[in-house]
């Protein structure tokens, strides 16, 4: 009975979450985006060093809809979005569920900077629809939403908050630890922040910057220290993408992780894909921010443990 009592107590949060998702759909439909559905069950996910898929028969549940969505881009659909379930094995914590809800959108003919503008407009639009006005309060912190939001590079953030160079962090193999312990807690505390220009080797599907090949055209959106979205100027060089997938596959084999077959149809389509930008935004985490909930458990009706 305890579980049902908890479930009944989520009514208000679930109502706001549903209104948020309706508002997001309206935002994209009004701008002429196509709401596309792609299969949840796929032959293999894109091989990435640190993302593990959940098996489903001989295939896998998607870790992100990106492979199919980029094939749509390549086939001539220039503005597409969807809100769908994604699955990642072993991810469970205050901000992680192994089954979670993702919003992805893609635009042909543009780069990652346009997506920063999209993020600002989208979240201001949703907060307006929910009657939140120009600011959100999350766990005692007040975050002003009025654009423009802060845009800082990973290099600047490491220097400012960790007193450590990005190269040094990579050389000492402590980039992730530094990011989590020293940098993230400062990001987006007064207004949202775009952390941009990641070291090139940390953007597996991102294009490197033409002027500075050391960095990938990738950003992450943070609000109140919480990572909400990851975006790229998409890599469209199929040969380079194949090299990166092969490198990630080697890395996975070395670490005894499941090896995934290369997504050949995606790689074939990539050579026809126009320059594009794409982004994945965690719906559950956005719901946490907009309903002032401390954990991801609070914004979904059911967690795996409650089933």
């Amino acid at each position: 009975m305890d579980a049902d009592w908890r479930l009944a107590g989520k009514a208000e949060v679930l109502r706001i979450r549903a209104a948020m998702i309706r508002s997001i759909h309206r935002f994209f439909l009004e701008q002429g985006f196509l709401d596309c559905e792609t299969p949840l069950r796929i032959p293999a996910p894109a091989p990435e060093s640190h993302i593990d898929a959940v098996g489903s028969g001989d295939w896998f549940l998607q870790t992100s809809p990106e492979l199919c969505m980029k094939r749509l881009l390549a086939a001539g659909y220039p503005k597409i979005f969807q809100i769908c379930k994604c699955f990642r094995a072993g991810e469970r914590g205050a901000f992680h569920l192994p089954e979670f809800t993702m919003l992805e959108w893609y635009r042909a003919g543009t780069d990652y900077r346009t997506l920063m503008d999209d993020c600002e407009e989208l979240i201001v639009h949703v907060a307006g629809d929910l009657g939140l006005g120009g600011a959100v309060s999350w766990q005692g912190k007040k975050i002003a939403l009025r654009p423009p939001w802060e845009r800082i590079t990973v290099r600047e953030a490491f220097a400012r908050y960790a007193g450590l160079g990005v190269e040094e962090a990579l050389r000492r193999d402590c980039f992730d630890e530094t990011m989590v312990c020293a940098v993230e807690p400062h990001l987006g505390m007064e207004r949202p922040v775009f952390l941009r220009e990641y070291p090139a080797e940390l953007g597996a599907l991102a294009r490197v910057n033409a002027e500075n090949p050391e960095v990938a055209e990738r950003f992450e959106l943070y609000i109140a220290g919480l990572e909400l979205a990851n975006a790229f100027s998409e890599l469209t060089d199929a040969a380079e993408q194949r090299r990166r997938f092969e490198k990630a596959s080697r890395d996975r084999r070395l670490k005894n992780r499941t090896a995934y077959s290369l997504p050949e149809r995606f790689l074939a389509a990539l050579s026809r894909m126009p320059p594009s930008a794409g982004i994945a935004l965690g719906i559950d985490r956005l719901a946490m921010i907009l309903t002032d909930q401390a954990t991801i458990d609070a914004v979904v009706a059911f967690t795996p443990e409650s089933l």
Binding site: E48, S49, H50, I51, G90, E91, R92, G93, A94, F95, H96, F175, D176, E177, M179, V180, C181, E184, L202, G203, A204, E220, E227, N230, K255
Partner: protein, 187 residues
């Protein structure tokens, strides 16, 4: 053996030959980065706390912890002596290891002693003990100025607040977890 993904609040692991208890645990994963396990750990020998971030490849030994029933014998120069009634082996605990429990160590009382390998770490008392009140001011009926409780001393030297009707020589029951008075014990 545990891996980092097995870590949970309350889990007890061995690091550098000391037992640690996980007091806080968080799974974190920076965008596209590796899974990290942020823990607060408390050294069960000296109580020191620290924060550590582990990776999924990190492995840990379980701390070999055992509780043994032992009988309290005596205290001498800040050392507390306990005996295992099965094999008559005796161990000594320091005042720090005994901690607040020293107020409730009745003669021959049976307690649980937590061992890490062969080292005693601390003791757990029965939740309730009955003790004799050795010092109490008499109950002045109608005395409302002193409030609803009065201080008394019990046979172990421990002082606590009890209802005003408790008299010297009576037995009372104490909850050893809170150190508070529960009830008067008849007989």
């Amino acid at each position: 053996m545990y891996t980092a993904s097995d870590l949970r609040k309350g889990l007890r692991i061995k690091i550098d030959n000391d037992p640690y208890i996980v007091t806080e645990f968080n799974f974190v994963k920076p965008g596209k980065g590796q899974a990290l396990y942020r823990c607060k750990l408390k050294n069960m020998v000296n109580g020191n706390q620290f924060e550590r971030t582990f990776r999924s490849v990190d492995i840990f030994e379980a701390a070999d912890l055992q509780e043994k029933k032992m009988q309290y014998l005596y205290q001498e120069e800040g050392k507390y002596c306990f005996m295992d009634n099965q094999n008559y082996e005796q161990v000594f605990l320091s005042a720090d290891q005994v901690g607040e429990a020293k107020y409730f160590l009745l003669d021959n009382i049976e307690v649980e002693i937590l061992f890490f390998e062969d080292r005693p770490l601390g003791i757990s008392l029965p939740n309730f003990i009955d003790v004799t009140v050795t010092k109490a001011d008499p109950w002045a009926k109608g005395d409302s100025v002193s409030g609803n409780t009065k201080p008394v001393t019990v046979q172990t030297g421990y002082q606590l607040q009890v209802p005003p009707f408790i008299e010297e020589g009576e037995k009372i029951r104490i909850d050893t977890r809170s150190g508070e008075y529960l009830t008067r014990v008849k007989g």
